[in-house]
């Protein structure tokens, strides 16, 4: 299972790419594989305040539906508009073109509580 070394993770299978006071977030390779074909994604709205662990959207796959939980607290500053017409990007490229949203981080101390790539690898192996 692909677990990029430059990302941080949650036990709910989200990832975050932290740069400065911003984070790009998405779901992991493991999560997209477990969900199967994704057909629709409900995205958050830009400007939405979020707390760590809040649902910021839902992913509808053929067989199931799952919440996307924010890995960090802050404010949604951008969503991946491409997913509205091409939700399969999350299946094809979950760490790249299939990103979900960008968050302005309000509580940097939360970053430390995320899982390292090594810790996350152990979880999904």
């Amino acid at each position: 299972m692909n677990v990029p070394s430059n990302l941080l993770f949650t036990k709910d299978h989200e990832w975050a790419l932290v740069s400065g006071d911003e984070a790009k977030v998405g779901i992991t390779e493991y999560a997209q594989h477990e969900l199967g074909d994704i057909v629709y994604i409900e995205l958050p709205a830009v400007g939405d305040p979020v707390s760590k662990g809040d649902s910021i959207g839902t992913i509808e796959a053929v067989k199931t539906v799952a919440d996307i939980y924010s890995p960090l607290s802050g404010e949604i500053i951008e969503v991946n508009e491409a997913l509205k017409d091409a939700s399969e990007l999350v299946n094809k490229d979950p760490y790249g073109e299939g990103w979900i949203a960008r968050i302005k981080i309000s509580d940097p101390s939360e970053i430390k509580s995320m899982l390292s790539p090594e810790e996350y690898s152990k979880l999904v192996d």
Binding site: E60, V62, K63
Partner: protein, 367 residues
């Protein structure tokens, strides 16, 4: 995993593993849910040809001079209408009209075969066994029966290479006994997909050989294995009922939309008097097909509303891979069961509009 200790493997288990299937316990068997993609497998069956391992289904043999009369008394369709070599879709009901199971009845020259849902196998056997009269005997041959379904527009071309039996001469819902790939079997022109195709009942000792021969013959058509995930989306596009979702012991065949197999005039059978009353009653709920008018996916158990009032419940739902929109089946009160009725599906607290449509959702190509 402990839960896997008591689950059986079908004779095709190693094939599923080799094809990289996601395998989960279902109805007592380790079954392939999907190989790579449900959407891809769904399209393969609609456009080419796909192979389903459905060995988990149950098969019973009923013999004896009173077999016909007996089966007619425990099923709702008319067994006396069956010719030798013909198959009938039917159901068994409890005395209160609730459905024990839906099933296929095969008529052979000197016996009948019943094909029942895997998850109901034991319950069905006990139910039937509890009613078996003199001069009828019931045998469970499920463990000695392998079953592959080959479905899709290229199913005939694939299988005809392997048999001298003229496949085009077997009408829909009929079967032939013959050799295919050198293996003795029942070649049944049936399926659960809405496409042309066959179901092949055979001894598990030949399963490996059969799978290999079919995949070799279907190679030029892009044949591929299909999991239970796509089996569900394919059947739902046809609005075929699924036991446990759309029908169960709390639903009767009239309200389930199975009135077409409920032969109230054939003579007495279990639940007949109740079903006659249900048919005459003015306000029964109905299981209806519906399409989402908004971008949303309905699922089993979601509540149905109309004009702010709860009027029913979704029994099956998915994103239709063919139509690329949400489709489903729901029990709704009779006043909202007409084609074109506007209903609302409560999807995680948000009302999403849908409309009652005509079944099937996509054209059937079984003939």
């Amino acid at each position: 995993m402990d839960e896997n200790l008591n689950v059986k493997k079908t004779p095709f288990y190693e094939k599923h593993v080799a094809f990289g299937a996601k395998i989960l316990p279902f109805a007592g068997y380790l079954m392939p849910i999907q190989y790579a993609s449900i959407l891809d497998e769904h399209r393969a069956v609609r456009e080419k040809v796909g192979v389903f391992d459905v060995t988990h289904m149950g098969e019973f043999i009923v013999t004896g001079e009173n077999a016909e009369e007996f089966l007619n008394s425990i099923t709702i369709n008319d067994v006396t209408k069956l010719a030798v070599g013909q198959v009938q879709y039917s159901a068994m009901c409890y005395p209160d009209g609730g459905i024990v199971d839906d099933l296929l009845v095969y008529r052979f020259a000197d016996h009948y075969m019943l094909v029942v849902n895997a998850s109901n196998l034991e319950k069905d056997f006990n139910w039937i066994n509890g009613h078996v009269p003199a001069r009828v005997s019931l045998t469970n041959i499920s463990d000695e029966t392998g079953l592959l379904a080959i479905q899709g527009p290229k199913s005939f071309a694939t299988l005809q290479k392997l048999t001298k039996v003229n496949l085009e001469s077997i009408p829909f819902y009929h079967f032939a006994e013959g050799e295919l790939a050198g293996i003795p079997m029942i070649i049944s022109r049936t399926g659960y997909t809405g496409e042309r195709g066959f179901e092949l009942y055979h001894s598990p000792k030949y399963s490996d050989k059969l799978w290999n021969a079919i995949f070799e013959a279907g190679k030029e058509f892009g044949i591929q294995p299909i999991g239970l995930g796509a089996r569900d989306t394919l059947r739902l596009e046809m609005k075929y009922a699924l036991y446990g979702n759309d029908i169960d012991q709390t639903t009767n065949p009239i309200e389930a939309g199975l009135g077409w197999i409920t032969k109230l005039d054939k003579g007495d059978f279990i639940a007949r008097d109740v079903l006659v009353k249900v048919k005459e009653a003015p306000t029964v709920r109905r299981n209806v097909p519906f399409e989402m008018l908004e971008r949303a996916i309905p699922r089993h158990g979601y509540k149905v509303f109309a004009n702010g009032k709860e009027i029913g419940v979704v029994t099956s739902g998915t994103q239709s891979p063919t139509l690329n929109k949400g489709i489903g089946a729901a029990y709704v009160s009779a006043e909202f069961s007409r084609i074109g009725s506007i209903i609302e599906i409560d999807i995680r607290g948000k009302m999403n509009k849908a409309t009652v449509v005509k079944a099937p959702f996509v054209p059937s190509h079984t003939l």
